[in-house]
């Protein structure tokens, strides 16, 4: 005796089976919830060394610097310039701009100077959606200075912005 699955049941099985298959695919890929970056507290007593640590935290969190954009110590085809050694070469990037002025300009006005070989695309990080405060930007600058240079920025430093 030949058994035949009734048509309505076949349709139900097709719908359930296809949906379950796609849902299963969704379960086997890496799972990651993306939460808003935790707040980084900066207080007036922080030293330059403290700012370097806070800046590093901001770069991989709220500042989104290392989230798919810049790299540190990588070579090959890159989306944006690798930041390794930036603290050392910042003073020579643009004529007439000191190390601090160049780093501040690249964060507040990233389109003002584009490193040759790369495209424009970075957004000013004092504006939404990144929206870092001036103190947070000083912390990021301190971290950038620490990459191949000597950090000297403090919370009292005037960045000119």
């Amino acid at each position: 005796m030949k058994f035949s699955v009734p048509m309505p049941l076949r349709l139900v099985l097709l719908v359930l089976g296809t949906t379950a298959f796609y849902m299963y695919l969704g379960q086997i890929v890496p799972q990651k919830e993306s939460h808003p970056p935790p707040p980084v507290l900066i207080n007036a007593e922080m030293t330059t060394e403290d700012l370097v640590a806070v800046g590093a935290e901001l770069a991989s969190g709220k500042g989104q610097c290392l989230v798919g954009c810049h790299t540190v110590g990588q070579s090959g085809p890159l989306r944006y310039p690798d930041l390794d050694g930036i603290g050392g070469r910042a003073a020579t990037q643009v004529d007439g701009l000191s190390e601090l002025e160049y780093l501040a300009q690249s964060l507040y006005e990233p389109a003002a100077f584009i490193v040759p070989g790369f495209a424009d695309g970075m957004q000013a990080i004092n504006q939404p959606p990144i929206n870092l405060s001036d103190d947070e930007i000083k912390a990021v600058i301190a971290w950038l200075q620490s990459l191949g240079g000597t950090p000297n920025v403090t919370l009292d430093t005037d960045l000119g912005y």
Partner: protein, 643 residues
């Protein structure tokens, strides 16, 4: 017989519901607290002045609650929650269901109008009947769209009152036109449907045309609301340095600066284009699924022939719209990148990167399903064996492209596997996970599917054009050149920097689009009045082909749900990107696994409801109830025909 069973089932269900309701009510009443009889008697002796301790306690609690309510100042709620599922999932599912029905309601009139127009030009009644058959699905679907739209609006007002109020602040001038257009859409839709055969053909076509115009306008308004949330402004070179600057439509605090910029925001037109094409593809696939459903129910060859033809047309519409859809998607993604690199990187290289592997599996399945249906369809034609030898090569090409497209850059690996590979990416296979390989794969997939369609079109036909050999060779050269160009840029992409590599996608896309257009332009005269080697036997197709159509519709629906997640999830913790922060407990992007569960539930609910739409639509073809008459078996379509 089936109708009697359904009516009997509904009767049983109603009876059981009444019994359960009565029993539940009785249970609740029986379990209510009651004072012991002796306490009532004792209280009667004491008089009304004294309350027993429990009554006193209840009275005190009520008084305290009232006093607290009076003392509490009015405070506008920012968020409210839904137990168990949460506010976000509630709004998510409702919005997706509304969108799926809306997409269907917008798409069906578009191709119903085109089919009716073709029938009018060709003077063939069968096209008119087919357009009417499609339109039958609209009436109930329109009600479903409106119902879910209202449900969604209420859910937003209740669950996200402050944010909804903000959107009203920005877009309130657009609400009245939206409602008026919705009213007009109802007017045109019902006059188009109920006026079939009641108006002259030109007047009826005009109604169909207006239905499409109004429906598209409605979608454009709604798209402005949702795209504003992603890109609240435009880009314009305001300082004249040649670099586009961001011009926000709202101030930093969210106050409206320009309704025009808020409405015609950066991603508005890319979404409009993408949605029109996607709606047609989705609508075609759902209409084809309806035809498949009716084909499987059919009792006569005449019905099978009619619904086979209808399924073929629905699927044809879906695939024709599906072919340019990746290009529209690419345009949308490029515009998102142009608006905000942060959003773009988040989409392709950040949280959502694995989603596109899943998308590749879905689109690969769609291509496989569509090609499989076309290959099975060759069996309808007498003399169709000639081209079947090419199918295996097409299958190999499609399967290879599918595999390349679904290969991730970074493999899911154990610690020991990572150690063996020397990293999280496979030393060889990771090359296939890069953009160059994926762009190449999708373009070859499109070319292969188009080739399947060309073979199907030629099956059982012989060109009588005087330059047929020359034109066929020209087509082959155009096809090969496009494929070679796509592969060339795909390989060359590995030897250039990323900015150049991304730009290579443009010549790849243009070469494929140009090939599709040129080959079609050549093919039309080439096979006009072609000699038929045999008759097309509509209805002579294996039943499995109909399940393939339903599988395609399912995959389309699932794909739309998945892409809805990425489009909305891209904003991350923002209600309006960069302007209004989401401070609710749901202010994070859920994992892909969770998202696929929500999408799956939505798809199942949608297919349950669309099943009701199919069933209700199929009732119109049945005979009227007549007391004493024999029950009808299956839905017999009056005037069904074979092409």
């Amino acid at each position: 017989m089936t109708r009697n069973r359904i009516l009997f089932g509904i009767g049983v269900l109603a009876f059981v519901s009444v019994i359960v309701t009565v029993r539940l009510g009785g249970f609740l009443v029986d379990n209510e607290y009651r004072q012991p009889d002796r306490q009532v008697a004792a209280q009667e002796e004491l008089g009304e002045a004294e309350l027993v301790p429990r009554q006193q306690g209840i009275a005190d609690e009520q008084a305290a609650d009232e006093a607290e309510a009076r003392a509490r100042p009015y405070e506008e709620a920012e968020y409210r929650t839904v137990p168990f599922v949460g506010s976000r999932v509630t709004v998510w599912v409702l919005a997706q269901l509304h969108l799926l029905f809306a997409a269907f309601v917008l798409a069906v009139p578009l191709f119903a109008f085109i089919i009716e127009f073709v029938g009018y030009v060709k003077k063939e009644e069968r096209y008119n009947k087919l357009a009417y058959e499609f339109t039958k699905l609209l009436s109930v679907s329109f009600s479903m769209t409106a119902t879910f739209g209202a449900f969604l609006t209420f859910a937003l007002i209740i669950l996200y009152p402050k944010f909804t109020n903000y959107l009203m602040h920005i877009f309130s001038p657009t609400f009245l036109p939206y409602v008026l257009l919705f009213f007009l859409e109802a007017l045109f839709l019902y006059s188009y449907y109920y006026g079939w055969g009641k108006f002259g053909p030109k007047m009826h076509l005009f109604l169909g045309f207006m239905l499409n115009v109004v429906g598209t306008a409605i979608m454009f308004i709604a798209n402005a609301w949702l795209t504003f949330m992603m890109s609240p402004g435009k880009r314009d070179d305001i300082d004249g340095d040649g670099v586009p600057d961001f011009v926000s439509a709202v101030s930093e605090s969210g106050a409206l600066l320009s309704l025009r910029d808020a409405f015609f925001n950066f991603t508005w037109m890319p979404i409009n284009i993408h949605r029109i094409i996607a709606n047609v593809a989705f609508g075609g696939s759902i209409a084809a699924a309806y035809a498949a459903f009716r084909y499987l129910q059919a009792k006569t060859d005449e019905e099978r022939a009619h619904f086979d033809w209808m399924g073929y047309v629905g699927n044809f519409v879906a695939i024709i719209a599906f072919l340019p859809l990746p290009f529209a998607g690419y345009y949308l993604a490029a515009e998102i990148y142009a608006f905000s690199q942060t959003l773009g990187i988040q989409m392709m290289g950040g949280t959502f990167s694995w989603l596109f592997v899943l998308q590749a599996a879905l689109i690969g399945n769609l291509f496989l399903g569509a090609n499989y249906y076309l290959w099975l369809g060759m069996g309808r034609m007498e003399g169709g064996v000639h081209f079947q030898k090419f199918i295996k090569w097409l299958l190999i090409a499609i399967a290879l492209c599918f595999a390349v497209w679904a290969t991730p850059r970074y493999a899911i690996s154990s610690v020991s596997e990572i150690a063996a590979m020397g990293g999280s990416s496979h030393p060889q296979l990771s090359y296939l996970g890069q953009m160059s390989a994926k762009n190449t794969a999708v373009n070859i997939l499109i070319l292969s599917t188009y080739m399947s369609f060309l073979l199907y079109r030629r099956t059982g036909r012989q060109s009588i054009h005087p330059y047929r050999q020359l034109l066929t060779r020209a087509q082959a050269i155009v096809f090969s050149s496009a494929a070679a160009l796509v592969i060339f840029y795909g390989v060359y992409g590995y030897f250039v920097d990323s900015a150049t590599r991304i730009r290579f996608a443009i010549p790849q896309v243009y070469s494929v689009l140009a090939a599709l257009v040129v080959i079609t332009v050549i093919d039309l005269p080439l096979y006009r009045n072609a000699a038929q080697s045999g008759e097309t036997k509509w209805g002579r197709i294996p039943a499995v082909s109909q399940y393939a159509l339903i599988f395609i519709a399912l995959s389309f629906t699932w794909l739309m749900g998945l892409m809805g997640y990425v489009r909305s999830g891209l904003r991350q913790e923002w209600h309006v990107y960069g302007v209004i922060l989401d401070t609710s407990p749901d202010a994070y992007t859920p994992s892909l696994g969770f998202a696929t569960q929500v999408v799956s539930v939505t798809v199942l609910v949608f297919f349950g409801l669309i099943g009701v739409v199919f069933w209700l639509s199929s009732l119109s073809g049945k005979k009227d109830y007549a007391p004493g008459a024999a029950p009808e078996d299956g839905g017999r379509l009056e005037g069904g025909q074979a092409a």
